[in-house]
């Protein structure tokens, strides 16, 4: 039985009991407990069901590497699945529930999988690829839904997250990852030399294993006391920032690191406090002091609850005062696990025996164990664990030279098995950005190769591993390695005062080398009856890896994907080395030849909230608003996005029958503009000032038509092509001065066009004397369009807007109705039209003045849809409707705007290519449907011939399609192969299974072909 010890527990406060709920049951723990330690203290050994076989599972570990104890924590909007119980700090009222079982944790139907798997080779390596192949249709409708229900971990939360998250950018000279002995030593050394140091630790406590290994003395004091002293010293230094509960999730190029700080997980709901904070760190040097993780040993049934890592057992006893069982068997390949036997013994937990895989056991730790009366059996191993939901005992026997259990079996009764297959340095961060590893055969571990570390912008190695992460498992080496790393990192960032705090003396027990032991096969078929787990979270066994190798998956990367070894959320922290060692053995290669799989961020899973930061809800997407935005909203505007802008699609009025529909509003707005006068907020239109002695020359190259000949005060419609000859933006260019132009662009295209201009200026025509400046936001602009437009402006007064003073396509500056204004006589509606621009801070005033002055002339605002319909009635193209990046001006019958006189412009050479000049290209046409009420769907395809079954050949598609209230019929534009030669032809548009719409090819200018309406 697991239980709380009567005393002890370095990090818990027994004076502060904490209540929590586990699967609906009220339990008690102490402040400082993790959910894992508190559950163990309550004898909750069974904590979940496994992924494939639904086997009962309990805690294996005490920290980040825990593969089994994943649970749903929190409730409602604060519920989060798949939380590692070892990483969840206990707080008052915490609720946790187990996952992946049905109907209950104790009785799980899915465990049948395991029963079946014990009799037939299902769920083995490559199972999904081999099974359920036929019939094809069954995969989608039968197999996949069933497997999806049976497999998988937690369920996603149903409610939106109630918490806030944020990012934080910080720069430092030296980032130290890990707050154990090596990390603290490195931080001290770097800080003493004047470097700006940021040190972070993933747990709530500084010190790492120094807190647990009470046999070790540093500077004449316990590890915990030494840690306290170091932390006090560091926190008193101005150049040091310290952070616990802060996990370095990944290292990226050039010293960029992401840190995941769990600010309020242990105090949920704190007002205004973000739950998680993602630190985006730019560091000069990074010191990786991430320690090492213990490896399990793959013996049969090594997943029965009660089988744990030896170091974890020690952690539970010493940090949280919890005995994970009453009678233990320790199974080890090294000296270190004897500390666990001693810790259990000290705590009053019986140790039935220490089984040591090594034939000879001589070191001081074994000697101490023997002196304490603990039986040490050299050359012994566990063959098999007995028990289902809890360990009942172990079958043991002598190990052969090959590492198998041979000879007579014995049975030992116990409820706890502490295993230690040796230690693996945590090289994840080192490897994230390309750091290479070397195999140390003597210590049986991969360790960082300092010569081949990750490099920074200057090609120098910018990451230093130290301590256990660097393969130095002994305290004295750990400490000195950390000091050297800290000093080197500081020096590399220009901080070398040559100062160094005095090195403390370390008294630690020397340890003998381990015996590598990767697999403990019992006799019989591996896949049947018993299982030797490597990857607990993905249920991958030693037999799976062997099968994969036999089937030819010899590359470690292939074997990983075929078996899913190391692909679970724990990324194989406890399984990778064992797995690749078994693979190496099976294919007869050495471990370094097989190599490791790729380590990728995050080290442990981080929340989506932390990644998102502030960019959620209203801040998810930045929205641009014009100065008149609020007025439009109050006026019944329905907005639509145009680029980043929000523009009124239409203004829906209240009528006696209720609020207008969109279609009603659009129809009213169009007819009003055609018959009286309409107001359009055109502020979003892109505006770029181009100025300099070479401005005309520059614009002649950027536009397809000639701009240098434009007279000051005049406007010209221009087209812009890319270097492939395709049209990408259009707009009116105004010559505002001798060497100054104002280029209008599309609303969504302003940034693109400005960047295009700057790129050509900076990379090709850097010798031109031209400046460009985007002024889109500087001006609020209103289009006043319709037969009464002039009357409205004349009523405001101050500027002569008569046809004589301000003819079509000209421009004037003046004071209109008391506002400093620029008036452009241009028209996108085909009506008499003026576009009035004022400084944006006066935009609302302009809108209000125009509305007021326009009242007697029937002025009404109109939105983007009315704008679109009116331009289509006039056959004006729209970038993005009639163009799609493959359309030339000539395709759109805009050849008149492409200069034939100019020596060059962007796109000219491309347009001379044979296929762009060839006949039969798709060309712009108008379409008149046979039924005038029928509006063709946007994008509908015209076909060469309508066929009942076989595929039809398309000859083009509809680019714009509307019902025109002005003409009382539908209108459309389309790009049709050889369109200009098809006038009068009737085309077929199959729009649904049994529906073909017929339309006649007509001139795309549907209304006022002579342009009389705008020239008045």
């Amino acid at each position: 039985m697991a239980h709380r010890l009567p005393s002890g527990g370095l990090v818990i406060d027994r004076s502060k009991p904490v209540e929590f709920t586990f699967n609906g049951q009220k339990l008690k723990g102490f402040e400082g407990d993790t959910l894992a330690s508190a559950l163990l203290a309550n004898d909750q050994v069974l904590l979940g069901r496994s992924f494939k076989y639904h086997r009962p599972r309990g805690l294996i570990a005490s920290g980040a590497e825990e593969p089994n104890a994943l649970m749903g924590v929190g409730e409602g909007p604060r519920f989060e699945p798949n939380q590692r119980a070892t990483g969840v700090e206990l707080h008052q009222g915490l609720t946790a529930r187990t996952q992946n079982h049905w109907p209950s944790l104790g009785f799980d139907v899915g465990a049948l999988n395991s029963w079946i798997a014990s009799r037939a080779p299902v769920f083995s390596a490559g199972f999904y690829y081999k099974t359920f192949m036929f019939p094809r249709v069954a995969w989608k409708h039968v197999f996949e839904p069933v497997i999806r229900r049976a497999a998988g971990l937690g369920k996603p939360p149903k409610e939106a997250d109630a918490d806030e998250y944020e990012h934080f950018h910080v720069h430092c000279d030296v980032l130290v990852v890990g707050g154990g002995i090596a990390g603290l030593s490195a931080a001290r050394a770097a800080a003493a030399n004047g470097a700006r140091v940021l040190i972070c630790e993933q747990t709530p406590h500084w010190g790492g294993r120094a807190l647990v290994e009470t046999e070790t003395q540093i500077g004449g004091m316990s590890g915990a006391d030494w840690v306290r002293g170091e932390v006090t010293a560091l926190s008193g230094m101005e150049n040091v920032t310290m952070r616990t509960r802060c996990m370095t999730s990944g290292l990226y190029d050039h010293g960029y690191a992401l840190l995941y700080e769990r600010v309020a997980d242990h105090v949920p709901g704190a007002e205004g406090t973000p739950r998680h904070r993602l630190w985006r760190v730019r560091a000069g040097r990074i010191v990786v002091a991430t320690g090492a993780l213990e490896r399990p040993i793959p013996f049969a049934n090594n997943d029965v609850p009660g089988v744990m890592l030896a170091s974890a057992v020690r952690d539970y006893v010493r940090l949280w005062g919890v005995a994970p069982g009453e009678k233990a068997v320790v199974f080890t390949t090294n000296d270190d696990a004897y500390r666990t036997a001693l810790a259990l013994h000290e705590a009053g937990v019986a140790v039935a025996a220490v089984l040591d895989a090594r034939a000879e056991v001589k070191g001081e730790l074994p000697a101490r164990a023997r002196a304490a009366g603990i039986e040490v059996r050299a050359g012994y191993g566990v063959a098999k664990v007995k028990g289902g939901k809890r360990v009942k005992g172990v079958e043991i026997g002598r190990l052969t030279g090959m590492g198998q259990v041979g000879g007579r079996r014995e049975e030992l009764a116990c409820d706890l098995v502490a295993m230690s297959g040796g230690w693996s340095p945590v090289v994840h961060l080192w490897s994230h950005c390309g750091g290479k590893l070397t195999w140390d055969a003597e210590a049986a571990m991969f360790r960082p190769d300092p010569e081949r570390g990750p490099t920074g912008h200057d090609g120098a190695v910018n990451t230093l591993a130290c301590g256990a992460a660097n393969g130095y498992l002994h305290t004295d080496l750990c400490l000195s390695d950390g000091r050297v790393a800290g000093m080197s990192a500081a020096s590399a960032t220009g901080h070398s005062r040559g100062e160094m705090p005095e090195a403390p003396e370390v008294q630690a027990i020397p340890q003998a080398h381990p015996r590598p032991l990767w697999f403990m096969p019992a006799r019989g078929k591996y896949a049947h009856g018993t299982k030797h787990f490597l990857d607990y979270q993905n249920d991958v066994t030693a037999a799976d890896v062997q099968l994969a190798a036999r089937e030819g998956y010899e590359s470690v990367e292939h074997a990983k994907r075929y078996t899913t070894l190391g692909m679970a959320t724990d990324q194989g922290k406890t399984s990778n080395i064992n797995g690749l060692a078994i693979l190496a053995d099976q294919i007869g290669a050495e471990i370094p030849q097989v190599g490791t799989t790729t380590f990728r961020p995050p080290y442990t899973p981080i929340s989506f909230g932390a990644i998102t930061g502030r960019a959620r809800g209203p801040l998810f997407k930045a929205v641009r608003k014009t100065p008149m935005h609020d007025r439009h909203a109050a006026n019944g505007a329905d907005f639509e996005p145009v680029g980043d802008w929000e523009r009124p699609y239409c203004f829906r009025r209240m009528t006696p029958e209720g609020r207008e529909s969109r279609a009603q509003a659009v129809t009213r707005e169009i007819l009003n503009a055609r018959q009286k006068v309409g107001l359009l907020d055109a502020s979003t239109l892109g505006k770029i000032v181009v100025k300099g002695p070479d401005a005309g020359k520059f614009l002649d190259l950027v536009y397809t038509n000639m701009m240098s000949t434009l007279k000051p005060g005049r406007c010209r419609y221009g087209l812009m092509c890319n270097e492939n000859g395709f049209l990408f933006d259009d707009g009116v260019v105004v010559r505002t001065g001798e060497d100054e132009f104002l280029c209008h662009t599309t609303s969504g295209g302003a940034d693109r066009v400005h960047a295009h201009m700057e790129e050509w200026l900076q990379t090709e025509w850097w010798d031109f004397q031209v400046y460009t400046q985007q002024v889109t936001d500087q001006w609020a602009q209103v289009a006043v369009a319709g037969p009464n437009a002039r009357k409205v402006l004349e009523k405001l007064g101050g500027v002569d807007v008569s046809d004589a003073a301000l003819p079509f396509m000209s421009y004037v500056e003046g004071t209109l109705g008391g506002l400093p204004a620029r008036i452009f006589r241009i028209s996108f509606s085909g009506e008499l039209s003026y576009e009035v621009a004022v400084p944006a801070n006066l935009g609302l005033a302009l809108w209000e003045k125009l509305a007021e002055a326009g009242e007697e002339f029937g002025a009404m605002p109109y939105g983007t849809e009315a704008l679109h319909v009116m331009r289509a009635e006039k056959g004006f193209i729209m970038i993005g409707d009639e163009t799609d990046g493959t359309v030339t001006p000539q395709d759109l019958a805009l050849g008149w705007a492409v200069s034939k006189k100019k020596a060059d412009f962007i796109g000219k050479r491309a347009q001379e290519r044979a296929f762009l000049a060839a006949k039969g290209r798709k060309q712009l046409v108008g379409l008149a449907t046979e039924d005038p009420a029928e509006v063709l769907p946007d994008g509908a395809h015209a076909v060469k011939e309508v066929k009942a079954k076989s595929r039809m050949i398309t000859i083009g598609h509809v680019t714009s399609s509307y019902f025109s209230p002005t003409l009382g019929r539908s209108i459309a534009m389309a790009l049709i192969e050889g369109g200009s030669e098809r006038m009068g032809e009737v085309l077929s548009f199959p729009v649904a299974k049994d529906k073909v719409v017929k339309a006649t090819v007509v001139d795309p200018v549907f209304y006022d072909k002579e342009g009389e309406r705008q020239n008045v």
């Binding site: 950018h169 910080v170 920032t241 205004g272 960019a615 641009r624 500087q778 801070n841």
Partner: protein, 193 residues
């Protein structure tokens, strides 16, 4: 004559009034002149001195004196800051002074939203928004930076120890304000700077 109205129309919160860690105030209409040209030109330096009373700032710097100033924006661009009403005349004067020298001077007073930030925690709030080193000593008074905040382009500069200005395009004004306000909640103090 109608009164000019800024994009965020007087939205303001001081630390005490709205429970934020910093003062966050709409600066209202402010004069801004974009000046592009050869920043080493004596004529340009004289024109800047005449317009805003300070010398041409160095790279990533801002010179301010008596509510007027000049901010370095790029190797050939300055942003001049002055009262709103003075901008048209200043722009015209610069044009006259630099006549014959290739340059661009534009009154862009209405193109941006200006927010005034005050308080000791401004560096920390800004560090939540932009990838800039704001540690003590790294961004002293007179520093300026063009950078981004989430998805939008911004620029900010430090006028005095606890007084800053941040600008973004006018149309993004509300987004700028809302993002800063969310980042300035007192419960979110990082305690690093």
């Amino acid at each position: 004559m109608s009164e000019p109205v800024s994009a965020i129309q007087g939205r303001a919160a001081s630390g005490n009034a709205k429970g934020l860690a910093i003062g966050l105030t709409d600066a209202g209409p402010q004069g801004m002149v974009t000046l592009r040209g050869d920043l080493s030109s004596p004529a340009l330096a004289a024109a800047v001195q005449e317009a805003v009373g300070v010398s041409v700032p160095g790279t990533r710097e801002a010179n301010f004196a008596g509510g007027r100033g000049a901010v370095w924006m790029s190797p050939d661009e300055l942003l001049l800051r002055l009262p709103y009403g003075d901008a048209p005349a200043a722009t015209a004067a610069i044009g006259k002074a630099l006549d014959g020298e290739h340059h661009l001077a534009l009154d862009v007073s209405d193109a941006r939203t200006v927010i005034r930030l005050t308080g000791e925690d401004v560096p920390e709030v800004l560090a939540k928004c932009a990838p800039v080193d704001l540690a003590p000593g790294a961004f002293p008074v007179g520093s300026a930076r063009r950078t981004h905040m989430g998805q939008i382009a911004v620029a900010f500069w430090r006028i005095a120890e606890t007084e800053w200005e941040i600008v973004a395009l006018r149309s993004y004004g509300h987004h700028l304000y809302d993002w800063l306000a969310a980042s300035a909640k007192p419960g979110g103090k990082v305690g690093v700077f």
